[in-house]
């Protein structure tokens, strides 16, 4: 198998993308564009991690947002309540989130597809209602107020939008590269085998529940990474990050961009965020426009953008 060249190629693409993104502010400063990239970084990680479950393993989780939100709260609380530096707080938040997704996964992965979807949704809703009720810790429906203390990390001053932009871009690209590596690894191939034919997979010796649990945990961890970026953007943490419409957003990003393409969720997230930005400026009926766009995709293209393009111009084997 040509692993080495493929991995190098992925790294090269990532490097080029990163250089392009970092170069743009040097040519032209646009706070709106920078906001967009910052939000996209968080959402791209969130949606791509979800696709590890949905597209790669065939596990439809309706509750993925709970890890995104959990991490945002863990990170923001750590920053507000302790003097730990940003990288330490971030790593801590992600570690706690990974542990949480391991626990939730242990309960959920044994259920078959439909019920797995429902139970992840139920756990998320329970988690959300805990956030809302536990006001002394989380601030309830208002979220964490007072902002995240702006501390320095590796020379980045996160109160500067430019530095936040650069930080998010670097983290997002590295995170996506890591997910790509996992997806292309033998483990990733095992997941896809489970998605396609789980009976055959288990005959070949794969322990289904263990592979699924690994996938769920890893997906939770990367969602947590996205959550940290989201917390930095809003300088706090709000319950909506962990609410199920947010999980829905990730699902739509995956569907709109392409469930069978690695960069599909990123493209889908970009489409959703761009629509959100642009449409709101022209009309207050954002829902109407978004609904029509989604119908166009679902009924017209019938698949996500990258999947559609790949089918339209098939070149080589994936």
């Amino acid at each position: 198998m040509k692993d080495r060249p493929a991995a190098l190629r992925d790294t090269a693409i990532a490097a080029i993308a990163l250089i392009v993104v970092l170069a743009i502010p040097l040519l032209h400063r646009s706070p709106a564009f920078e906001d967009f990239i910052i939000r996209l970084s968080a959402m791209a990680l969130f949606a791509t991690s979800l696709n590890l479950l949905v597209g790669n393993t065939g596990m439809v989780s309706f509750g993925h947002g709970m890890f995104y939100g959990f991490s945002a709260y863990a990170f923001a609380l750590t920053m507000q309540m302790t003097d730990l530096s940003l990288p330490v707080a971030a790593v801590l938040a992600i570690a706690i989130t990974t542990f949480a997704s391991l626990c939730v996964g242990a309960i959920c992965v044994r259920l078959s597809t439909d019920y797995f979807a429902f139970i992840t949704l139920a756990v998320q809703m329970l988690f959300y209602s805990v956030i809302i009720s536990w006001q002394s810790l989380t601030g309830g429906d208002q979220g964490l107020r007072g902002g995240i203390p702006r501390r320095e990390i590796f020379g980045f001053e996160l109160s500067s939008q430019l530095h936040l932009y650069q930080f998010c871009a670097v983290v997002a690209v590295l995170g996506l590269l890591a997910l790509r590596h996992i997806s292309q690894s033998p483990f990733g191939q095992t997941l896809r085998m489970i998605r396609d034919n789980e009976t055959r997979a288990s005959f070949v010796g794969v322990v289904l529940w263990r592979a699924r649990l690994w996938a769920f945990t890893i997906a939770g961890a990367f969602a947590g990474l996205g959550g940290v970026l989201a917390a930095l953007f809003v300088s706090g943490a709000y319950p909506e990050l962990a609410d199920w419409p947010n999980s829905g957003q990730a699902i739509f990003a995956v569907m709109l961009g392409g469930i069978n393409s690695f960069l599909g969720p990123v493209v889908g997230a970009a489409i959703l965020l761009a629509l959100n930005d642009v449409v709101n400026r022209f009309t207050e009926y954002y829902g109407l426009v978004l609904g029509i766009v989604i119908l166009a995709f679902a009924l017209g293209l019938r698949r996500g953008v990258l999947d559609f393009l790949r089918l339209a111009w098939p070149k080589g084997v994936k």
Partner: protein, 411 residues
Amino acid sequence: MSGTITRRNVLAGGAAGLLAAPWVAKAQANTLRIGMQSILSGPIALLGTSSRNSLMMEQDRINAAGGFLGRQIEFVFRDSKGQPQEAARVARELVNSTGCELLVDAEASSASFAVQEVVRDLGVACIHTNSETSSLTADPKIRVATAFRVARQGVHDAVAGSIYLADYANAKKLDKWATCSPDYAYGRDTTAQYLQFFKKFKPDVEIITEAWPKLGQPDFTEVITKLIQAKPQALFTLLYAGDLSAFVNQGNVYALFSQMTVATPNVDYPVLAAIKNLPAGIQSATRYLETFPDTPANKEWGQAYLKKWNERPTNWSWQNSLAMHFYEAAIKKANTLDGKALAAALTGMKINTPFGADGTITMRDDHTTIGYAIGWGQTTPKEPFIIDVKPADWGKIIELETEWKKQQNYI
């Protein structure tokens, strides 16, 4: 796999081009854009729509008088649906993408804290017009240099309301009370404040039960029956807009209002009009009343609003008008739109306005206003809807507010 690279590059390039378009900074037009965000849909949409109505009236008036610094003003309205995450995004978008130079934050309390953090980062001038939670300005950790509040404050209302209600309760011998407030920050904090002061003025009051429905929940039946079981003599509720309407309608089914006196600070005109079978005799604060303060200026403003929008102003309406009065005065004084300079001008500023108890309202050092008209009276199904209005004692309000702030370690 060169094909993949080509496709990806094309996609990336095309996408970048498409996406870049809206964000390339627009050339500075002469119009002065002012961003306003609020809840414009859902059961509490009245909050946002009545705010917007007022601001459009102010836009016309100010532009007719020459605008700000010779520039015509233009409001940009956004619906955040009351969600803090979306409110933060909207605030940044208004300033960063749409080029707004001033902000009028008409969010309800939960989202206003999110906007506060954005204002802290961006340093733009912002006036919060609808958030009543005291900590937004009272808590020094949350206060921001360029953000101010012109909305009535929870703690002021609590003091004024509890003085009135304690008198009323003593007169009518209503010792057993229940509370029913929406389970979110405003509902919790403000109810706690009311109860704290109520107990101070009427120590023998007994709160026999508390109900905490969720904001916007469609069915209050189980809450209503719980209240009826408890048999209080009076009920204090902070429900408002669509929730209050549903509560009244559902309460009527259980004849709730014949079993207990109801007190609420939140009965706005349009709500009174929308509730089909409104019981009389609800003890209510004057949210906006044309007859209180009973001055020609106030009546004129109320009439103008009614004429333009065919509905009566709400509490949120006058608060947003007041924000523009303050901006007007501050910009004239500072002669700039810079956040810091406007903040310096606004701090301690006293202006003439129809909404002041004595014709004036002052913006204090802690960035919140005092001296606005607060009164309590009782409802009646016909004009002027609230009668027997007793104005509040501002001396007492400030005295107790200071005590409360010390208690919370804000000062």
